[in-house]
């Protein structure tokens, strides 16, 4: 029973942490973007204020069943995927379900939120939503290929599909997978540019041309719930990348308070530095068109991914 209680406590703690970290990173990015543009910028906690305001709207309009379900679906998908991501390597405080999920399952589940968004946006009947959804799905077809190739390279190289085992390998050998298979790492890194949807790959939202795309008919509490789901998803992607390529965080042999806090600190540093890569790339690039974005992903990232798979097969 105590074990179950600890697991539930860990799950709640994980969700709160993912939400807070995701929202704060978003706020920091807004502040940094403002500084780059020679502006003063909003406070770092601006995203929390936005969320509070959206949730305190008095009236909300929904457009049918999937319109109601889309934000719920997104947040369910986000929390479900979060449970299968190892937060700290082998830590007893955040056990969640990380031993039972593998990479193939994660690949499937990570699309689930976008699917809910696509169905909900489709039911609103707004033409901007429909264009945004088709763009989003096209872009997903673009970046999923190098991403999957990178993951397949790792799976072949280490003969496992478990995120936990991949992190453990890096902990034991002391070599990060970013160096053990640099081509797979580069392919995954370039795929992450599309995953985070900053410029030049912000073709889905595109406020100036699509009126924020799929979410254009969602306001108030619906938009707020979607924002929370997005924040959790950002944390998920960053944590997954850190555990796959940057040696993860946390010491599997020591689950004391100090070691856990140190692990969380290392995780935050690594995820933040990783998050800065798509953000930096976005600051200096204007928006691509849809076909340019897909051509980008099917060019060098896919080639690097194939080289990564060959590397894993021949130089294992």
């Amino acid at each position: 029973m105590e074990d179950l209680g600890l697991k539930i406590f860990g799950a709640i703690l994980t969700t709160i942490m993912a939400f807070t970290v995701g929202m704060t990173y978003g706020g920091i990015v807004r502040k940094l973007t403002a500084r780059v543009q020679n502006r003063y910028g909003p406070p770092v906690y601006q995203n929390f204020l936005d969320l509070l305001k959206l949730q305190s709207k008095k009236t909300n309009i929904a457009h049918g069943f999937m319109g109601h379900m889309a934000p719920v679906w997104i947040i369910i998908a986000a929390v479900t995927v979060l449970m299968f991501i190892p937060i700290l390597n082998g830590n007893l405080w955040f056990p969640n379900l990380s031993f039972h999920g593998d990479l193939i399952f994660l690949l499937y589940m990570m699309v689930f939120g976008s699917l809910g968004m696509a169905l909900g946006a489709g039911q609103t009947g707004n033409p901007n939503s429909a264009i945004g959804v088709t763009r989003g799905l096209s872009q997903m077809v673009g970046y999923e290929i190098p991403f999957v190739l990178a993951l397949v390279a790792l799976m072949i190289q280490f003969q496992t599909t478990s995120v936990q085992d991949l992190t453990q390998v890096q902990h034991e050998t002391g070599v990060w997978n970013a160096f053990a298979n640099p081509f797979a790492f580069l392919a995954a890194l370039l795929a992450s540019l599309g995953m985070f949807r900053y410029s030049p790959f912000d073709i889905v939202g595109a406020p100036a041309e699509l009126a924020s795309g799929p979410v254009s008919e969602f306001g108030g509490k619906y938009l707020g719930t979607m924002m929370s789901g997005g924040a959790v998803f950002a944390f998920i992607k960053l944590t997954l990348y850190v555990h796959l390529f940057f040696g993860g965080a946390g010491n599997p042999d020591d689950s004391g308070i100090l070691a856990t806090l140190a692990g969380i600190g290392i995780l935050l540093v690594k995820t933040f530095l990783l998050y800065m890569i798509p953000v930096f790339y976005g600051w200096i690039n204007p928006r691509y068109r849809t076909e340019q974005a897909i051509r980008y992903f099917w060019g060098w990232p896919t080639a690097l991914g194939i080289v990564g798979v060959l590397w894993a097969v021949f130089f294992n």
């Binding site: 543009q37 910028g41 909003p42 305190s56 709207k57 008095k58 009236t59 254009s216 306001g219």
Partner: protein, 181 residues
Amino acid sequence: MENDKNSQKIVDYIGNFARKHSLFVLAYGTGCGAIEIPATMTSRYDAERFGIRGAATPRQADVLLITGYLSTKTLKRVIRVYEQMQEPKYVIGFGSCTVNGGMYYDSYNTINGLDQYIPVDVYINGCMPRPEAVISGFVKLQELIMAGKANNGEKYRENLEHYRSNQKKIIKNWKMPDYNW
């Protein structure tokens, strides 16, 4: 928002604080005033430090910023946009044209006085108002929100017949639904 006893509870204060510091603006660029909006939002005057940012659609917006004159043709669109916004919502009339018609006061196809057609929280006068004036207008709106006195949507719903009859005087071929949810 004030409750029926004309007072605010703690939860109202928290809600108003968030609303005050997070204003999503739908800039309805009908007239020449729209040229002041980029200057207000970009690096020189930086409205984002007050939590003011642009919203792309009426569903997500809190503030409807009417920049300049409204012709009889654009009034129809403004009403549709305004009614699609979710409460609590606020309206800022920007420039002399929204106050009394401005330089178009005797034109045959513009309206004089925006508040005959939709309720207005704050007017910013001037032709054109500079970005400082725009920001001071937003600060005034923030004060009204914090005091719970910016109840634009409520006012519109209560006096819908009055506003609707005024709107129908201008828009002769009314082919819209009774209320544009």
